[in-house]
Symmetry: C2
DNA sequence: GGTAAGTTAGTGATCGCTAACTTACCGCGG
DNA sequence: CCGCGGTAAGTTAGCGATCACTAACTTACC
């Protein structure tokens, strides 16, 4: 079944609300207000709140896959792919801060085993992709040989997560463009260690 | 005012419950059940739920400061301090998994500005300490010169956070000792890049 | 006239928290 | 040694608010 326009609106509203106020503040009423209808109208498009959150995860996975695909087709070396993946993510987050929850799926769904499992899988897949990318970079010679790919993936993804976590906390004051700038210098710092 | 035994019990129960079920599942009733009293009895020891959470943050900050102090007195080089800090944390988390929330204060208190501010400050302080440690390591010669300390701190702390986040998700199956082992190999991987 | 999508009104459950009462222990004057 | 009152810490019962969700009705469109 394809998702209707209203369903997309609802998913997007849930996305934004989670990002702004946290998952514990997400209510059907708030979603309804954001969309511009009353509370029960939401249930014409989703069977339950879990159903909505499930679609939110689907959206996250789709977004990440799209980002990886976009980067893969537009880059020559694995090193470039890594760099442009984070750049794309950073500029995406600058323009739509609500999307940052994509990076932190694990603490969103702790009260639902199925959703938590999918979030965990999503996180592990992301790490696995980066291990592959690092290995590819070593093989093709754009990265230093002898790098521990597991540690490298943790460094890269974990460091970026922490950067984004800090960035979205101090909302307001001169935040515009800062994530992209900080991401750039973070990547420069990392590549000066692992690149060659 | 010093904290009574009951208050310590309550803080510890809140700590554990948050870790096991997430902050959105934390209720006064559950805390009361864990402590072994009825719900209103909790209010003999704390004025509100926010009051409890505030004490939980105090406890987190105290724990981190104690860990840093312990490591500082027992290590010779900055490099050793970094290594033993994460080792101590990892073994601490193995024995008491509930303490892992110390690493993720920022998503616990998003609905309360004061608590969120304190959590943010705590995170930034931790990062600043690691920047100092890295700089000290460079100055004393145990770390490679030319390292970007900002990026290095993000790598280290962010990578460890991600490692712990993954570890605590797959509860149960053969988890014993794995965090310490994984932390060890993560640190080995990082130090092979930044050490000398 | 059937269907999709909205509405108002209201369900039971649970939330943080309070009122009012009980109980146990304490120091102290007679 | 006894009784008295104050206080800390527990109890039962319940408050108003809010939660996810539902029943029943209306409206607009093909």
């Amino acid at each position: 079944m394809q998702t209707s326009e209203r369903q997309k609106e609802i998913i997007q509203a849930a996305f934004d609300l989670i990002s702004e106020q946290g998952i514990q503040e997400l209510t059907i009423k708030k979603i309804a207000q954001a969309v511009g209808v009353t509370e029960p109208a939401i249930y014409r498009h989703f069977t339950s709140k879990v159903d909505i959150l499930s679609s939110v995860i689907d959206e996250m996975i789709a977004q990440r896959n799209a980002a990886l695909l976009q980067v893969r087709s537009g880059s020559s070396t694995a090193r470039d792919m890594i760099r442009s993946f984070f750049s794309v993510q950073a500029s995406l987050f600058e323009s739509r801060p609500s999307l940052t929850i994509m990076l932190f799926p694990e603490d969103l769904f702790r009260n639902n085993d199925e959703l938590l499992g999918r979030a965990t899988t999503m996180m592990e897949e992301t790490l696995a992709r980066f291990r592959e990318l690092l290995q590819a970079g070593i093989d093709e010679g754009s990265l230093k040989p002898g790098i521990d790919c597991g540690a490298g993936a943790l460094m890269l993804v974990g460091g970026f997560r922490l950067l984004v976590a800090s960035w979205r906390l101090d909302a307001g004051k001169g935040r515009a463009g800062r994530l992209e700038a900080d991401t750039g210098s973070f990547l420069a710092g990392v590549f000066s260690l692992i690149g060659r």
